[in-house]
Every structure is written in structure tokens, then in C-alpha cells.
Symmetry: C2
Subunit: 514 residues, 2 copies
């Protein structure tokens, strides 16, 4: 058994069941080993950003790592942006990068680069395999690292000779440390903040946005008068009927400052401190009121649910909370095709168990509010600001969520970064409906020009924000990748085609003219 097969068997034994890949020469032994080992699905992408975005989406749904298999420095670089998003989502990824044979690197062949330095810029754990006999143990250590809270990118660099020389067989995965317990002082400080009489906010992120955590947070809120607020971007929120509804901190900086202005105590639970997504001239980086005290109950590394339970006990909010069934949104029957009506269609039609992958940006800012009462579903967002995660993330989510419907809410400019992943959806017959918000512009940047103080933009500047010359034809693009597609220009057509797409199986794309 060579090093590659030892590694693949170690991955499978360690619970890694999928490999998202675009392989090259140096990875051929790993690829060949996949045929000799049961239990590892191998999903091909036309571009590595698809593979890494899929690994992100998979981890968010499955709560376990997938592996990737990328081709040397350029393959890693092509996957970097969505690894960055995965890192910000605290996804678990066993990121495997092929490399020249150990003895070949010294010759500086054309594909040579400093892969380890490149990997370190996006990985919490990086190791280069030193020999075929050790590479299974390296893989086991990578699984351990990826699974360590809060979820990490573990990059194993695999020189070709460590794959083709005789290996060790399976290596066991070392024990994964439990999530740390929040300190007593953190619980006491949070309880004191809530008892201060000052307006208080529980700011939730990470695991504090799963169903059980939100229910505990809601008890605390009801008891103390504190408000609940999710972060702007979140890896996954389980929501819809039966779940505690929660709003998010708005993205636009003035709105975010206004939402936070009333609070003098902010308690972070799996969330990070609210700061501007960007800096803007004359506006603060920290978005809370200058007189606001910020207290951390539990970091993303810590057990947020257990910490919330202790806080609930400390403030005297035991028991369970009754959630009144929210009103199920009704289908709008008339009106223009726009944010408001689209949000209501989503609220009415999102099916139970769906996974919504949201890279809507400007278009989708009211969709979240319009879908609190939808059937129970999970909502995944662009987490690291590196656009181009949506179609790949939906692809990986669909691999993890076989039997559940995946719905992509997709800004057009962002979708154009990694549209190749549509081909993988067709190849794997994945059950993904992608809704493209076709406004043919980098609409977000039109607002940002003014926000950063670049007033009176001229034709060159405005031209850089416009995608209408020529207009991108999404129906043609999707068909080019083997995915059925339709363009809709009215509310009636959108509702009909979306309902049709949800009722059938397999990938479908709807270009929604805005």
C-alpha cells in the first residue's frame, strides 16, 4: 500500500467521506488510490474555487470536514478565496495540496512555488509531508486539526513521492479536544451586564445561532429585557417556523451604527465585536456606541450553548420558551418583480428542510426578514467577503444534504466568479435551484463610491461598476455548463418557474431580471 492509499484509507477511517477536487499530475496517485478504497466520493470541479467553496458548504451542513485535492501552488491559490470564506465561517476543511516530489523541488521547475508560505496565509494548521511512511499520520493530524473548535482549515502538502512510495497503512486520528468551557468570570460579567439596568444586547454568532442556543438566548432576553441580534454574516442559522426569529446587524455602516446606538452593554456569544466591514472616512471602525461596554460570554472556540445555559441560570431564566407559530407568508399575487415581492415568494415557497445559500448582497437585504415564518430551513451566508462563494457553497451543501432542497440566492457579479461549479451540479445531479439577481451591475459599489467620499464619479469609474456591456446571458451560460435555465421578467413568471424548479429534481437556474 503506497502513501496515497494509506492517506485515503486514513481519511475514510477518520470520517472524511468526500473529496472535492481538481487534480493534476502530482496528485495522480491519490486519484488512483480512490478506486482501491471504498467510502470516499470524489467530486470534480472545473476550477479549484469551486472545490474549496464546496468544502465550506459541506462542512456547514454536515458539521464535519470534507477533503479537497488541489494541484500545487496555483491550485491552492485558485481555491484561496473560498478557503478564506471557510476560515471566516469556521468550517472544517482537510485541504490537501499536491507538490513536486521532495527531491525535485530544488530544480525550480515551472510550477514550483512556496506552497507552505501560501498555505499559511489561509490555514490554521499547515504541514508538508516528509515521507510516504508518515503521510497517513500527517493526514490523521490534519483531521484532528480541522475538527478542533471552532473548526479550522488544515492544509496538508503532499509531495508526489510521499504518495507513490510504500506507505504505513491507516493511521488513527488523535483525539479531538472538547470545546473549552467559558470562564466563570465571563458568565458573571455577562450576568452583571444584564443586571446593570442599561440597555443590553446579546450578539450571537457561530453555534449560538443554532436552534437550541437561540432558545436559551430567547429565555434570557425575555427575563432581562435584552435584545437578540445575529452578526451581519453567519456560517449557518437554523430558522423558520418553530425557531426563534432573529435579525442581523445590517451591512451598511450607517444602518449598523443606528441599530447599535441604543445599547450600552453588548454581550458576545460566539460573535466577534461589531466592526465596519470596511473603513469609511469620518466613520468609526467600532460600531457600538462610544459609551457601550462589550463583554464576551463565549468565544467561537468555546461551548456557547453551555455558556448560555449557565447565563440563563445566573439571571434566573430556566425552563423552555413557548414560540408562537409565526404567520406563514402568503404568495404575493400581484406587483412588480423586486426585492419586496421576491422576499415574500421565498417566504411562501422555501420548502421544509431546505438549505438556503445566500450571496445576494444588495438585492437580498430584505429577504431574511421576509422569511422568518417560512418552513424550517438553514440559511448560509457569504462569511468572509470574498465574492464567488455562492454557487460552490450550494454545490457542497447539496452533497452534504442529499434529499434536501438547496436554494442559491445569488448576486450576478459574484456568481460570475465561480459559475463553473454549475457544471459540477449537473454532473452530480445535485438538487440545487439557483436564483440569479440579474441587475447587471456591481450595485454594492455604487453605494460604496459615495460612502468612501468619492463623489461625482465620472464615466470611467461608473463603467467599472457596470456589467451591462455586453449583458451576461445567464440562460446561455447555464446551458453551456449543462444546467437547465430560464429567464423571468415578471412576478408571475418568477413564481411559476421557481415553483416548477422546486418540484423537479436536479439543478436549475433562474435568471431574475431586476
Amino acid at each position: 500500500m503506497n502513501g496515497a492509499e494509506s492517506l485515503v484509507r486514513t481519511l475514510v477511517a477518520g470520517g472524511v467521506e468526500v473529496c472535492f477536487t481538481n487534480p493534476g499530475t502530482s496528485e495522480m496517485h491519490f486519484v488512483a488510490a480512490l478506486d482501491r478504497v471504498e467510502g470516499m466520493a470524489c467530486v470534480l470541479f472545473l476550477f479549484e474555487g469551486g472545490a474549496t467553496g464546496a468544502a465550506d458548504g459541506y462542512s456547514r451542513v454536515a458539521d464535519k470536514p470534507a477533503s479537497t485535492l488541489l494541484h500545487l501552488g496555483p491550485g491552492l491559490a485558485n481555491g484561496w478565496a473560498n478557503l478564506h470564506n471557510a476560515r471566516r465561517a469556521r468550517s472544517m476543511v482537510v485541504n490537501i495540496v499536491g507538490e513536486h516530489a521532495t527531491y525535485h523541488r530544488q530544480y525550480d521547475a515551472p510550477l514550483t512555488s512556496d506552497i507552505e508560505a501560501l498555505a499559511a496565509t489561509v490555514s490554521a494548521w499547515t504541514r508538508t509531508g516528509a515521507s510516504a511512511l508518515e503521510v497517513a499520520a500527517d493526514g490523521a493530524a490534519a483531521i484532528q486539526a480541522a475538527r478542533t473548535a471552532p473548526g479550522r482549515i488544515a492544509t496538508l502538502i503532499l509531495p508526489a513521492d510521499t504518495a507513490w512510495q510504500p506507505g504505513s497503512g491507516v493511521a488513527p486520528v488523535p483525539p479531538v479536544p472538547e470545546r473549552a468551557r467559558a470562564g466563570e468570570d465571563a458568565v458573571a460579567a455577562a450576568a452583571a451586564a444584564l443586571a446593570s439596568g442599561e440597555p443590553a444586547l446579546l450578539h450571537l454568532g457561530d453555534r449560538a445561532l443554532r436552534g437550541q442556543a437561540k432558545r436559551i438566548a430567547a429565555r434570557i432576553a425575555r427575563k432581562t429585557g435584552a435584545k437578540l441580534l445575529a452578526m451581519t454574516s453567519n456560517a449557518r442559522i437554523d430558522r423558520g417556523a418553530g425557531e426563534v426569529p432573529i435579525e442581523r446587524l445590517p451591512y451598511p455602516i450607517d444602518q449598523a451604527i443606528a441599530v447599535l446606538a441604543p445599547y450600552r452593554r453588548v454581550i458576545l456569544v460566539g460573535a466577534t465585536r461589531p466592526v465596519g466591514f470596511f473603513a469609511y472616512p469620518g466613520k468609526p471602525s467600532v460600531l457600538t456606541h462610544p459609551d457601550c461596554e462589550t463583554v464576551t460570554l463565549a468565544t467561537p472556540d468555546e461551548d456557547q450553548i453551555e455558556a448560555l445555559e449557565r447565563l440563563a441560570e445566573a439571571v434566573g431564566a430556566p425552563g423552555e420558551i413557548d414560540l408562537p407559530p409565526p404567520p406563514r407568508p402568503e404568495l404575493p399575487t400581484a406587483g412588480p418583480l423586486g426585492d419586496d415581492t421576491i422576499g415574500r415568494v421565498l417566504g411562501a415557497l422555501i420548502p421544509e428542510g431546505a438549505v438556503v445559500c445566500d450571496e445576494s448582497l444588495t438585492t437580498g437585504r430584505n429577504f431574511f426578514g421576509a422569511t422568518h415564518g417560512a418552513a424550517p430551513h438553514s440559511w448560509l451566508q457569504l462569511s468572509g467577503g470574498a465574492i464567488g462563494v455562492g454557487i460552490p457553497m450550494a454545490t457542497g451543501a447539496a452533497v452534504a444534504a442529499r434529499g434536501r432542497k438547496v436554494i442559491g440566492l445569488q448576486a450576478d457579479g459574484s456568481a460570475l466568479y465561480t459559475a463553473q461549479a454549475l457544471w459540477t451540479q449537473a454532473r452530480e445531479r445535485l438538487d440545487v435551484v439557483t436564483l440569479i439577481w440579474s441587475n447587471r451591475a456591481y450595485a454594492i459599489l455604487r453605494g460604496e463610491l459615495a460612502n468612501v467620499g468619492a463623489h461625482n464619479p465620472g464615466p470611467k469609474a461608473l463603467g467599472m461598476l457596470s456589467l451591462d456591456n455586453p449583458p451576461v446571458d445567464w440562460v446561455s451560460l447555464a446551458r453551456g455548463y449543462g444546467v437547465e435555465a430560464r429567464r423571468v421578467e415578471t412576478l408571475e413568471a418568477f413564481t411559476d418557474v421557481f415553483a416548477h424548479a422546486l418540484a423537479r429534481r436536479g439543478p436549475f437556474l433562474i435568471e431574475v431580471a431586476l
Copy 2:
């Protein structure tokens, strides 16, 4: 005048006339400044790999740098693979990467990453702007670095506040050092190698493949009996009727070893030592015969033409060489549509002054030999092995070569990495004809599986090399990006449609069924 405008004016004053970009919020002041400054064209891409590949193609044709404008770490990462190719081609690139405002970085907002560490993995020169007053001088230093032989990637990281605060105005570009002169000992060693009586090879790369250098090399070869051979991958060869024909070292390792086997002296002129593109079990990394001595006449940093002149003098080969006009290839009129006939069509139809951007990989291995006698043209290749350079490189070459025809010879698997650049060709109405070799496979990897000793591949492994499920429809893809396209399945149709595409203006794509 703010920092951004000071920087843009410095770039224009320093001879940088084009910016290839996909900008974001942190780059809005730079974008806004473009409207206030004459002389900087701004070319938008839907993905940063298009922008960096275009900068590579531009530099190879124009022999001067373009600038890029990329959005923080993810934008740089998306452009990394084609910067790697540009680095290997020794292209000059002023690579500008936006960054959070200096005071905002400490807050670790979602898009934050270690841009400097990332940039250093692909740049010869990296600097982060410290203040708006210094950023014009930083830009001038970047131009100097990019123009320093042999051509470099210079990355300037531009924090948003260094763009929006008051700047210094234009900064002058410091003098660019002349190319170093090859040492006397190097010329003497090369002359001695040629006088040894052993079979000798002049191995040419970089500027030694331009017309004048090849003519000097041909004189030396005629006088001494040495052979000429280009590297496997080259940034640019000027060739066709009137130029010295030269073959390239083959890519497949067994063929490369066989070609080099007769030689006991190899003299490098702008070339690097011939080594395997990859390592293969049981095969050497260094491809020359074990008894071969390798001598360096001139490194890529040095003046290769001047060194060749001195070598010619040392071996007594003065004067000019007469080049018999090569036979102009004739159009094949019958036969199957395949490598042989396509090569002959190219030889007959490549128009004078054309720029050929070659990312053909397996399909195109005989095209070079079939086009020695074509009308004079330049031939640009994938230089760093990071696939996905072709369509972007052709786009940048077309910006540099307005009035000349650009022809892309394009493997389908590689084209799918960065096909978005077709949209830029349509937007800029660039005169590019892209020929897609549609074999619907990573054909190169089929051979590599066996080469690395992964015999008897199973269905999973073979599935990873196949692009036919579903088949990619290139006519739909191209139309989706606004580029006219046709699919051809016979030699007659290929010849007709290619001739038609050459005769018209603007981008056109031909999917060639293989």
C-alpha cells in the same frame, strides 16, 4: 490631490497606460481618480485571474508593464495563478492590491488577511503603502522594480486611507538599471564548450528567442555545428517567414530526454537548465545526458543579445546569415479534423503580425512545427504551468497589439478556468479569435497517470479526467459572455469559419470538435 490621484498620475508619467482590474470598496478612490487623469485606460474583468493574465500578455507584447488593481487578499489570490505564470514569463507587472485603511486592520474585519505574506509568494518586490504622502513614490518604486531585468512582479499594497488622504502629486520613477553584461568567463566557457569537439546545443530562452538574437545564434550554430533549441515553454518567440526557425524541447519527459541525449555540452542563453516539468518515478529530474556539461552564457537577467554577439566573435562567426524563405504552408483540402490538418491550416492562415497565444497542451504539440513557414508572427505560451492563462493572456495581448490579430489556441479544460475573460474581449471589442480544442477531457492527465506509475486506473480515477458528463457547450458559454461563436466538426467547416473569423473584427470563438 489625494494619494490615489497622485499614484495614478505617477503611473501615467512612468509609462503605465493600462489598468486591468476588478475593483472593490477599498479601491474606489483609485477608480474615481482614473476619471481625473488622462492617459490611463481601465479594463474591467469579471474575475481577477483575467486581469493578471491580461497584464502578463500585455507585457509580453508591449515590453512594458501594465498595472492591475485587485481587491484585498481574495482579489490577489484570485489573480495569483496568472501572476505565477507572469513571473515565470518574466513579465513586468505593477500589481496594485487594495487593503483596509491602516487604522482599520487591527479590527480583523471579515476581509482581513495577511496580504503582504500572500503577495511575497508571487512577487519579486512587495511594499505596503504607509501614508498618502508616500504612495506616489511607492508607485514609482514599483514601476522601477517591475522594469528591472529580467522583468518582475512588483506588488504595491494600497491601504484605503493612503488613497483618500492628501497626496504628494507625481513622483519620478528612479532610473531602471541596465541589464547586466555577461561575464568574460561565461563567454570563454561557452566558446570552449563549442570548441571541445563534443556535440553541443545552444539552449535559448527569454530575449534570446527574439529575432536578432536567433540570427546571431544561427551564425554561431552554422560556424560550430552546434544545434539550437528553445525551452519547452517560452514567454514569446518572434517567428515565421524571415525568422530563424527553432524547435522547442518537448514536454513529455521521455521525448525530452531523447532529444537531449546526443549532447555533451549545453550552453544556456536566457534559458534555465532543462529539468522535468514534474518528477516521475525512476526518471531523472535533470534531463541532459549524465555526461553532459552545462554552461551558462547569459542568465535571463543579463543582456543575452550582447553576449551572443561576443560569443559569435569569439568563435569567428561574424556577419549576417542568409535565411532561405521557408515554404509557405498550403491549406489542406481534405482529411479528418485533427492535429495534423489543424496545424497546416494555422500555417497557411496565420496573418502577418498576428499574436498567437498558445495554451493548447496535448492537442497542439505539432502546431509549432507546422507554422515555421507561416507569415511573421509572435508565439506566446503558458509559461508557469498554471492552466487558465490563455483567454486572459490573449485579452491583454490584444490591448497591447491594437491593429494586430490575436489568435488563441486553447485547450478546453484550461479555458474553463478563466473563460470570463471572453466578456472583456466583447466589452473592449478586441480582435481575438479563440480556437477551443474540444476533446472534453484533461487529456494530458491520461498520459500522466501512466507516467507516474498509476497503472490500471479505475472508473473514479478516469472520471476525474473526463469533461464529457455533461459536455460543455462552448457556443452557449461564449454567447453568454457576449462573444459570437460557432462549433465545427469537419476540416472544411474549420477552415471556412476560421478564415471568416480572421477577416472580420472583434472577438470570435470556434469550438473545434476533436
